[in-house]
């Protein structure tokens, strides 16, 4: 089961947590591009190894493993479907590794970067403040909505609702007692938050000031350079310009 807690930032004092969100996003984005560009098993394995460094340095291995455990069904599905259609174990494994790289590299970003830092990055990139705030709130309320959904399902099941019975139309209909309270709760909460924000002068300034500023530090430059070098090398290998010997 996908549990949002496994995908959410928890504050820690590590090298990776202290990095600028822009450099972490740059790294995650490059890993994503490389993983999509290549299907070579060895190269993907190399990329997978590279994704482990931020995980270990950021001390989020346990959380990442739990997130992977939540995604085991999808990983198995990717392997089985690709094996059935290609009858090639290596190719099926390569695609599983590709998916793992996507998960891990973005987890390295999302698990070590607070939503405030992400929002601040957007703000610094001159995105409108309303957009940045909407993004922050949407992200922040995911676990709350998930908890609400669980509670609603429990409450309705306790009154005899069976969501897994009947044909497709019946099942969709059975979900109405879950969807309606969820929407009502979400809308009510949104209105409450809007009122609370307005009570604290939201909208008084188009570009409010920030509590702190983002600064590029030595670690960010290091990650930026290392990611770029890896990107160039792997891209060169993909284009056949160099040959990397992997034992």
């Amino acid at each position: 089961m996908l549990r949002p807690e496994n995908f959410i930032y928890r504050p820690k004092d590590t090298v990776i947590h202290r990095l600028d969100p822009r450099s972490k996003f740059y790294y995650a984005f490059l890993m994503l591009v490389l993983a999509i560009l290549t299907i070579d098993f060895n190269l993907l394995l190399l990329l997978l190894l590279f994704t482990l460094f931020p995980i270990l340095l950021g001390k989020i291995l346990k959380q990442v493993l739990k997130a992977i455990q939540s995604s085991l069904f999808f990983l198995a599905l990717i392997f089985i479907i690709n094996f059935i259609f290609s009858l090639n174990v290596i190719l099926a494994l390569a695609l599983v590794i590709r998916f793992l790289i996507l998960i891990i590299s973005f987890l390295a970003f999302s698990l070590t970067t607070s939503i405030d830092d992400i929002a601040l990055s957007f703000y610094k990139l001159r995105f409108p403040y309303d957009f940045v705030l909407a993004l922050t709130l949407a992200y922040r309320f995911i676990p709350t909505l998930f908890k609400d959904a669980v509670n609603i399902v429990d409450a309705q099941r306790s009154r005899g609702l069976e969501t897994q019975k009947g044909n497709l139309i019946k099942r969709v209909k059975n979900f109405m007692p879950v969807i309606i309270p969820l929407l009502v709760v979400a809308i009510r909460r949104a209105l409450n938050v809007a009122e609370a924000m307005e009570s604290r002068c939201f909208g008084a300034s188009k570009r409010p000031t920030n509590y702190y500023e983002l600064k590029i530090k030595f670690g960010d430059i290091l990650l930026f350079v290392a990611s770029t070098i890896l990107f160039i090398i792997v891209l060169a290998e993909i284009l056949g310009l160099v040959k990397i010997a992997i034992v």
Partner: protein
């Protein structure tokens, strides 16, 4: 009868147990209050009674049925749970439909449903809202609708999770009356609450939980005079036991629970204080 036998429960992907070695037996017709601080495992415990959660280790038996072998829908016919937040359950277009929801799920015939719903709405003073949308009622009225929607199908066991939250004094009194009525009908009632005064009015037995374990079980007088347990469970000692404890009476203080007890024993208390 409800029986928890060495129950342990761990949520998926969590490291620690939410319930640890729970051994509880609740007899038919008992009114048991479960109390404790936030995160003590109270709601997790009650979700085991109708099988929403199944124990990781151990067994939960309800009227001779091991919850592991029955669906929530099957167990819900015996166990009605009213959850804390009414907004998590209200969805129907009218109060009538909301109250009829469980009865329809349990496939009662339409004539019976009509009679039962009307009877329940009358009992809860909700008749005037029969056609109104439950979504736009006040907090206390919504709470009554949610309780009515469970009480209407007459489960043998009724579980109330924080029923007094959001109720004004009058509605609270109505709730006390309702629980007393249900007690007279020999229903088993389990209440999860922080409201110690509510427990004083109704509880036959109190179970105090802390960090997923049963800290203490006993009568309300055992609990309200046990300062150590109350402190661990983050519960405030009611004013009368506080006064009696401060006076350091040599008489059996455990009999003095309510203001009425205090006034009845006032003469003895005064004599005791003077000496």
């Amino acid at each position: 009868m409800i029986e928890f036998k060495e129950v342990y429960f761990k949520y998926p992907f969590e490291d620690t147990y939410a319930l640890k070695n729970i051994n509880i037996r609740i007899s038919k017709g008992e009114c048991v209050f479960i109390m404790g601080s936030n995160g003590a495992g109270k709601t997790t415990l009650i979700k085991h009674i109708n099988g929403i959660l199944k124990p990781t280790k151990g067994e939960v038996w309800v009227n001779g049925k091991n919850t592991k072998n029955f669906t929530v829908a099957e167990l819900s016919k015996i166990v009605g749970i009213v959850f804390q937040n009414p907004d998590h359950q209200i969805f129907a277009s009218s109060v009538y439909e909301e109250v009829a929801f469980a009865l329809r799920n349990f496939k009662f015939d339409e004539k019976y449903i009509e009679n039962k719903v009307n009877e329940t709405l009358k009992f809860f003073s909700l008749e005037k809202y029969k056609e109104a949308s439950p979504l736009f009622l006040s907090g206390g009225e919504k709470k009554r609708v949610t309780i009515a929607s469970v009480v209407c199908y007459e489960p043998e066991i009724l579980v109330l999770d924080e029923p007094t939250v959001g109720l004004d004094l009058k509605q609270r009194k109505n709730l006390v009356n309702l629980v007393n009525e249900l007690k007279k009908m020999n229903k088993t009632i389990i209440v999860v609450t922080h409201d110690i005064d509510f427990a004083i009015e109704l509880a036959n037995r109190v179970i105090i939980m802390n960090e997923g374990e049963v800290l203490k079980e006993g009568s309300i007088s055992d609990i309200i005079y046990d300062e150590e347990t109350l402190r661990k469970a983050n519960l405030i000692q009611p004013i009368i036991p506080q006064v009696v404890t401060k006076l350091k009476l040599s008489i059996s203080s455990k009999k003095i629970i309510t203001i009425e007890d205090f006034l009845t024993n006032l003469e003895i208390i005064l004599k005791n204080v003077k000496t």
